[in-house]
């Protein structure tokens, strides 16, 4: 709790105590914590002297401002029409079966969260997805398995 307070205070100090600072502060929280908790939102509202509901409204508007705990790696699959025509449903099926979670869920080990997202601007190279900040395009189920494998290897070098 105290940590959250301190973190929000520092971010507000950096980005200002007016409403203008709201978005960069929320982004800053996501960078540090991966998601914006209820406590963090309350602290932001207090620092900027705005209502907590307004902070919640802003945070829920943006897809990249998570308001629920997420895994270390957030996988966002493009859900738009171009990627769909290129087979994004197969990609999602593969992700779900390898990770053993449904769309919107997080794996038990807290490593992966699965989300859909709006256009990633890779329409000519669909299907596309983002893993945290890294884009992957021209995906196939095999490629997806490899990407997940590589991340797991990085996280658990012993295995």
């Amino acid at each position: 709790m105290e940590d959250v307070k301190q973190m929000v205070k520092e971010l507000a100090g950096k980005y200002g105590h007016s409403e203008k600072g709201l978005l960069p502060i929320l982004q800053g929280i996501v960078d540090k914590e991966r998601y914006i908790s209820e406590e963090a939102m309350v602290e932001v509202a207090r620092e900027l002297d705005i209502s907590a509901a307004q902070v919640f409204g802003t945070a829920t508007f943006y897809s990249f401002l998570e308001t629920k705990p997420t895994g270390k790696y957030v996988i966002r699959v493009c859900k738009t029409i171009s990627c769909m025509m290129k087979g994004k449903n197969d990609i999602i099926r593969e992700l779900e079966s390898v990770l053993r979670i449904h769309m919107g869920e997080t794996t038990h080990d807290g490593l992966f969260s699965l989300r859909e997202t709006n256009c990633l601007g890779q329409c000519h190279k669909g299907p596309a997805m983002l893993v945290n900040d890294t884009p992957y395009a021209e995906l196939t189920p095999e490629k997806v398995r490899q990407i997940l494998c590589d991340i797991r290897k990085k996280e658990f070098p012993g295995n």
Partner: protein, 596 residues
């Protein structure tokens, strides 16, 4: 003087000042353009598109609520293009609205329903999306029900809560098809900063925000032989009830109100104005005692300024937003709760009925009163002091249900005791009224003379400006009040919680130095309360205020301390203001609440 702009609307020439919107210009020549998200009290949102009109020579339709006029415009409000666009908009809104009209509390008083009927929205419109949507119905609050399935996302409530009231309990959350009006983390309304003021309820064009109704419970209590049902009526109800029963705004219907309540079957018809007078005695004396403690005894515990406490929306607001200032709030209960405490003690004894057999009902212009009656502090009689609170709208519904022709009812008088009131009690219903009533009494207590204003009308505290200040110099104080000789009593009146916040921010910053502040949560005071007939707007508030001051001017007794029944109450029960009994029954305390 701004420039005049000439245009035609439906081929009628009209000339309006620059900056006027098409909608306002049309109103001027009595052309009604339908609206949904637009509300006079609020900023323009322009999101519903129901008010679209056509401009000759252009392709695009434009929202008349947001578009300012320009020279030479030729506007068509009812062209085929405008009409069909409007119809599509309404159909789309209905496709996302749980149009369960026959079962809806707002049936017959719903702007979306009216428009749907006007534009003949049939069954072959767009697909009904409600079965595919997830929505919540929050009925946990004692005063307000929020039903998302009826919401058309016009955001009147959000603008009300954030601009007019600066509470910020409601916000727009999520986006696109998932967009909804939400509290913080979608918590129930009773868990968040909502003050229950009901201004959102008064402005909601559909049944998405309504008061929680207790009409059926009151009917069944009245049906019980063993119960004696006592009803009290708030000052602002008598100048607004008529509107909900087909009368023009600004009519005083006190006598008909009493007659109707008796016809409905209430056993004792009494007046909250009586306890408004009592509030003045208690609160006025509290103010004088505080002044003495602060000015003579230099007691740091005697906090100034003193603020009023009759508006439960304001009380909950200060508990959330300024918890460090709770000892500035008068400990005197609101008139409703003073009445409730007396109904099950003093009045029960008078009429020889066991308190457990008294059912105490109040008719209020307010939704927050429902919440106030539910507060755990409000059980001084040993029972729930006020059992059921009905809004002005709910009473109008009961009168309609009973088949009473309200307009033709003969005038009737309140029962006694606790039915008599002074003009000072009546003006409680208008912003500035409590201040004026308190000054009429306090000045006379201190000097032995009437307030130095013509006909007791303290005009500086009247009006509709958001924050008003007045100073009254005390001259010729009686010996026991000699410390107040020459003191300029600095008063402030604010209505609407945005203005309340402004005043309290100034108090906190130390830039103002008031002795006494009157705050009402709702714009215009109780006469503009969340429980009043819909619509309520600036013009209607003004008419209700005029009616209240008219009623005051015609009262034979104008000052609270001259109310003979209040005098009797002190003789028989309370003995003196702020006595031990008075404290037990008529005073309360407050609790700090989280702001977020």
């Amino acid at each position: 003087m701004s420039e005049m702009i000439n245009l035609t609307i439906d081929n009628v020439p009209v000339s309006v000042p620059e900056g006027t919107t098409i909608l306002e210009a049309a109103k001027k020549i009595n052309v009604r353009i339908p609206t949904l998200c637009y509300h006079q009290d609020l900023c323009v949102a322009g999101n519903c598109r129901v008010c679209v009109v056509e401009q000759k020579g252009t392709d695009r339709l434009m929202p008349s609520c947001a578009m300012p006029v320009s020279e030479g415009m030729e506007i068509l409000t009812n062209s085929l293009k405008a009409r069909s666009a409007r119809k599509h908009v309404i159909e789309l809104l209905v496709s996302e609205h749980r149009a369960d009209c026959t079962r809806c509390y707002k049936n017959g008083n719903c702007e979306l329903q009216e428009l749907s009927s006007e534009y003949i929205i049939g069954e072959d419109g767009f697909i009904d999306l409600i079965p595919y949507k997830e929505y919540t119905i929050d009925h946990y609050s004692p005063s307000i029900i929020k039903d998302d399935s009826k919401c058309i996302r016009c955001q009147r409530c959000v603008r009300t809560c954030n601009e007019l009231q600066k509470i910020g309990a409601l916000a727009v959350a999520y986006k696109g098809k998932d967009m909804k009006i939400s509290t913080f983390f979608e918590k129930p309304m009773f868990e968040v900063v909502c003050t229950n003021c009901g201004q959102c309820v008064n402005r909601c064009p559909t049944g998405a925000l309504t008061e929680k109704t207790y009409v059926d419970l009151v009917w069944s209590e009245m049906n019980r032989e063993d119960k004696h049902v006592v009803v009290q009526t708030a000052p602002a109800v008598r100048v607004a009830l008529g509107e909900a029963l087909g009368m023009e705004p600004g009519m005083i219907v006190t006598g008909k109100l009493v007659a109707a309540l008796r016809r409905l079957g209430f056993d004792s018809v009494l007046d909250t104005d009586f306890t408004a007078d009592l509030t003045i005695i208690e609160e006025g004396n509290e103010l004088l005692q505080r002044l003495k403690k602060a000015l003579v005894d230099k007691d740091p515990a005697a906090k100034l300024p003193l603020t009023t406490s009759c508006s439960p929306g304001w009380v909950k607001f200060i508990e959330h937003a300024f918890p460090g200032y709770l000892d500035h709030v008068s400990t005197a209960k609101s008139p409703q709760q003073m009445f409730g405490a007396l109904a099950k003690t003093f009045y029960a004894k008078k009429i020889n009925v066991e308190p457990e057999n008294i059912v105490s009902v109040s008719i209020m212009p307010c939704t927050a009163k429902k919440y106030e009656a539910d507060r755990p502090e409000m059980r001084s009689s040993g029972y729930k002091d006020v059992d059921y609170v009905l809004t002005t709208r709910e009473l109008a519904l009961m009168i309609r249900q009973a088949g009473i022709d309200f307009a033709s009812l003969p005038d009737d008088d309140y029962d006694s005791i606790m039915g008599e009131s002074s003009g000072a009690g009546v003006i409680f219903g208008a912003t500035g009224g409590v201040m004026e009533a308190a000054l009429r009494t306090a000045y006379e207590v201190v000097t032995g003379r009437e307030v130095p204003f013509e006909n007791l009308n303290i005009t500086p505290v009247r009006g509709m400006d958001g924050v008003r200040e007045a100073t009254i110099k005390i001259e010729g104080a009686l010996p026991e009040w000699s410390f107040l000789e020459g003191v300029e009593l600095r008063c402030c009146v604010a209505h609407g919680l945005a203005n309340a916040k402004k005043v309290m921010d100034a108090v906190k910053a130390g830039t103002v130095n008031y002795h006494f502040i009157e705050i009402m949560a709702c714009p215009g005071g109780c006469l503009g309360g969340g429980g009043q007939p819909i619509p309520t707007n600036e013009e209607i508030r003004r008419k209700r205020a005029e009616a209240i001051y008219r009623e005051d001017a015609h009262k034979p007794i104008r000052k609270s301390h001259e109310n003979p029944e209040v005098i009797r109450l002190y003789e028989e029960l309370l003995h003196e203001p702020l006595s031990e009994t008075a404290h037990k029954l008529l005073h309360t305390n407050y609790r700090a609440r989280d702001r977020y």
